[in-house]
């Protein structure tokens, strides 16, 4: 419902015609819609702050620089995976293979990057190309992305397991060194900011640049909200969808590289829950399943918030058997809350 209202080309709030390269510049100022949107924008940051305060109360150690770094750094691969999922959701699709893909990338990194770096790079490029191929199936054959990516998830998982049947392998020292840095530092200066924050800012900025700052980003977003307008504007929906999938592939591959560096190994199965966590992060961050709404920083904050939920559970000594239930409940709460705020906004 929302989508139709937001993206109607002749709606007064979107003055620029499709051919100008800008499809949506947001709603007009004032009014309940604006308030609802502001609330929605603030939600991920608000959730993040609340969760952080709870963590700090439970475990005051997180208020030191090293404690903060320990708390935040496990989230970096999930941040990357969430931004990847965010791009796909912006297109109006969904990627159920996201977690398996990240696992496959850790396997490729751990098996080949040290001994045969060229082969590793070639394999990663090949994986990216296959990922973009999914866009072809979705666009040309009209197959729902949910099924394409569900099928692909088994290709990723199977390939990952074939490469690395049990977790292990070796990761280049520079990579595990980089991913396990507490703060950015040079020989004579240490920036007093956790490395995870620096990574997250870079990731968010990159995604923002690609999807919002670049003129072509508007075309990619419009594929999710109004493909007909894209066509009328003279752009190829197929090419835009492929570009979106390529960006998503890039972030997912980076997620796998980052995770391999962090755990100094490859593991094809450990990331299975990334798929759902990343979807939750995107929705918490303000993304919409109907597509069209790119939320680079929302996804980043959402991923941190989701990852803090796990930390909070461990601070509270919640048994590990309850963790997936809590994840499921958080996801449902987030989605139900989103439905309510979105309803309020329109």
């Amino acid at each position: 419902m929302t989508r139709a209202v937001e993206s109607r080309p002749d709606s007064p709030s979107t003055p620029a015609p499709p051919s100008s390269g800008r499809f949506r510049t947001g709603r007009g100022p004032g009014g309940p819609a604006e308030v609802g949107q502001l609330l929605g924008r603030g939600l991920p940051l608000f959730a993040l702050v609340v969760l952080f305060v709870v963590c700090a109360v439970l475990q005051p150690g997180v208020l030191t620089l090293s404690g903060l770094a320990l708390l935040l750094s496990p989230a970096v691969p999930l941040v990357l995976a969430s931004v990847s999922q965010m791009v796909i959701i912006t297109l109006g699709d969904i990627d159920l293979g996201n977690g398996a893909l990240v696992g496959l990338v850790t396997a490729v990194v751990a098996v080949y990057l040290v001994d045969r770096p060229l082969l590793a790079v070639a394999l990663l490029v090949g994986i990216g190309a296959l990922y973009v191929g999914q866009a072809l199936l979705v666009q040309l054959r009209g197959i729902p992305s949910i099924i394409v990516t569900l099928g692909a998830s088994f290709v990723w998982l199977g390939t990952g397991l074939a490469l690395l049947p049990i977790p292990g392998g070796t990761v280049p020292a520079w990579l595990s060194g980089l991913m396990n840095l507490t703060t950015p530092e040079t020989e004579n200066y240490v920036l007093p900011v956790p490395m995870a924050v620096v990574f997250a800012a870079a990731i968010g900025l990159l995604a923002w640049f690609l999807l919002i700052r670049l003129p072509y980003g508007a075309v990619i977003r419009a594929v999710g909200s109004n493909p007909a307008a894209v066509r009328r504007g003279g752009w190829s929906v197929l090419r835009a969808r492929m570009a979106g999938y390529a960006i998503a592939a890039g972030f997912a591959i980076l997620a796998g590289i980052a995770l391999a560096g962090q755990i100094s190994a490859g593991d094809a199965t450990t990331t299975a829950n990334y798929t759902l966590l990343a979807v939750a992060a995107v929705i918490l961050g303000g993304g919409q399943f109907s597509g069209g709404r790119a939320v680079p920083f929302g996804a980043v904050f959402g991923a941190f918030a989701i990852s803090l939920v796990a930390s909070m559970l461990s601070f509270l000594d919640v048994p590990s058997s309850y963790q997936s239930a809590v994840q499921g409940l958080v996801l449902v709460l987030v989605l139900a809350g989103r439905v309510l705020t979105d309803r309020g906004a329109t």
């Binding site: 969904i94 159920l96 199936l137 054959r141 009209g142 197959i143 729902p144 949910i146 099924i147 394409v148 569900l150 099928g151 692909a152 998830s153 088994f154 290709v155 990723w156 998982l157 199977g158 390939t159 990952g160 397991l161 074939a162 049947p165 759902l276 979807v279 929705i283 399943f289 058997s321 309850y322 963790q323 997936s324 239930a325 809590v326 994840q327 499921g328 409940l329 996801l331 449902v332 989605l335 139900a336 439905v339």
Partner: protein, 322 residues
């Protein structure tokens, strides 16, 4: 249902196949069957009886998934594998090696299934959470439920039920016959009753269905309930057939969807074939057996499964382009 309209023209074989997409899955199953027999050097019948043990379970979950997928509009049941696992444990725990009540051993898992379906439907229809995420989240909660329930789990499977799942009448598996009955019953409901027509109408065009006075909510709820009940039944029987374990239901996540797709039902809903679920299940099990016989490892079997589903979708996808 989808038979070509008799407009005086003679029906060509090609047209008949196009109208009955399940033929492909049976054809593929026969090819895989013959290939296994040749490679393994067993007779055709020897191959069949040795490999088909898991087909009934696939068919039960596949038929349940089919009901939900027929609804279209993104309806899908991803909580199904977790219902299977939980039902297997709960039923085993209650029957406990034949000392507990067999009736409760079936009734409680069914009740669990109905609760799961109610939550799924509540989330999907009430809170308008997309089905894929709602059922996945419910599945996660069930996963925890299984872990909590099985902490210190001691019970063993009921020998009577084990005997039943392995029983044969005139050389035919009782379980297989039971599944034929279930499939026929579901096929009858889907194609010969007004309820089934309502399900398909919802899948084809939910707005038109609503305007036609179909109680969409009730139809949707019933489909999720069927899926959960069949998953619970699968869990009870599968738990007895092989012992319950934490990953018991997991393969049925993709497999239940896969055999629906392989059977020729539309993944977007509105056109379904129960016969195709049988064909898909037969082909699927025979294909995995063939890969086993060829010495392909479990990891690569996953790759083949995933690639096969995508391939079938690529071939079928063209039919529904507007």
């Amino acid at each position: 249902m989808t038979a070509p309209a008799a407009t005086g023209r003679r029906t060509t074989p090609a047209a008949w196949v196009a109208a009955h997409p399940w033929v492909w899955s049976f054809g593929a199953a026969v090819v895989a069957w013959v290939a296994i027999s040749v490679i393994a050097g067993q007779g055709l019948l020897g191959t069949l009886s040795g490999t088909l043990g898991l087909v009934p379970f696939l068919v039960l979950t596949g038929v349940g998934q089919l009901m939900v997928i027929t609804l279209g509009n993104g309806h899908i049941d991803l909580s199904l594998p977790n219902v299977v696992t939980l039902a297997a444990y709960v039923s085993t725990g209650i029957m406990n090696g034949g000392t507990g009540s067999t009736l409760l051993g079936f009734a409680v898992p069914f009740a669990v299934g109905l609760v799961v379906a109610a939550v799924n439907v509540g989330l999907v229809l009430g809170l308008r959470v997309p089905p894929i995420v709602a059922t996945l989240a419910v599945g996660l909660v069930l996963q925890s439920a299984v872990l909590v329930y099985t902490t210190g789990f001691q019970a063993s499977v009921d020998p009577g039920l084990v005997a039943f799942t392995r029983a044969r009448v005139l050389g035919l598996s009782v379980l297989g016959l039971l599944c034929v009955l279930v499939a026929v019953a579901v096929g009858f409901v889907l194609f010969r009753t007004s309820y089934g027509r309502a399900v398909q109408a919802v899948g084809q065009n939910v707005r038109a269905a609503r305007l036609a006075g179909i109680p969409v909510g009730r139809v949707v709820a019933a489909c999720y309930a069927m899926s959960a009940l069949l998953a619970a039944l699968t869990g009870v029987l599968l738990g007895a057939f092989s012992t319950p374990n934490l990953d018991l239901g997991q393969p049925y996540l993709l497999n239940s969807i896969a055999i629906v797709v392989l059977g020729g039902s539309l993944i977007s809903g509105g056109r379904s074939t129960v016969t195709g679920v049988w064909g898909g299940a037969l082909f699927f099990v025979l294909l995995l057996t063939l890969l086993d016989v060829l010495g392909v490892g479990v990891a690569l079997q996953n790759v083949v499964k995933g690639a096969l589903i995508i391939l079938v979708l690529v071939l079928v996808g063209a039919d529904r382009r507007e």
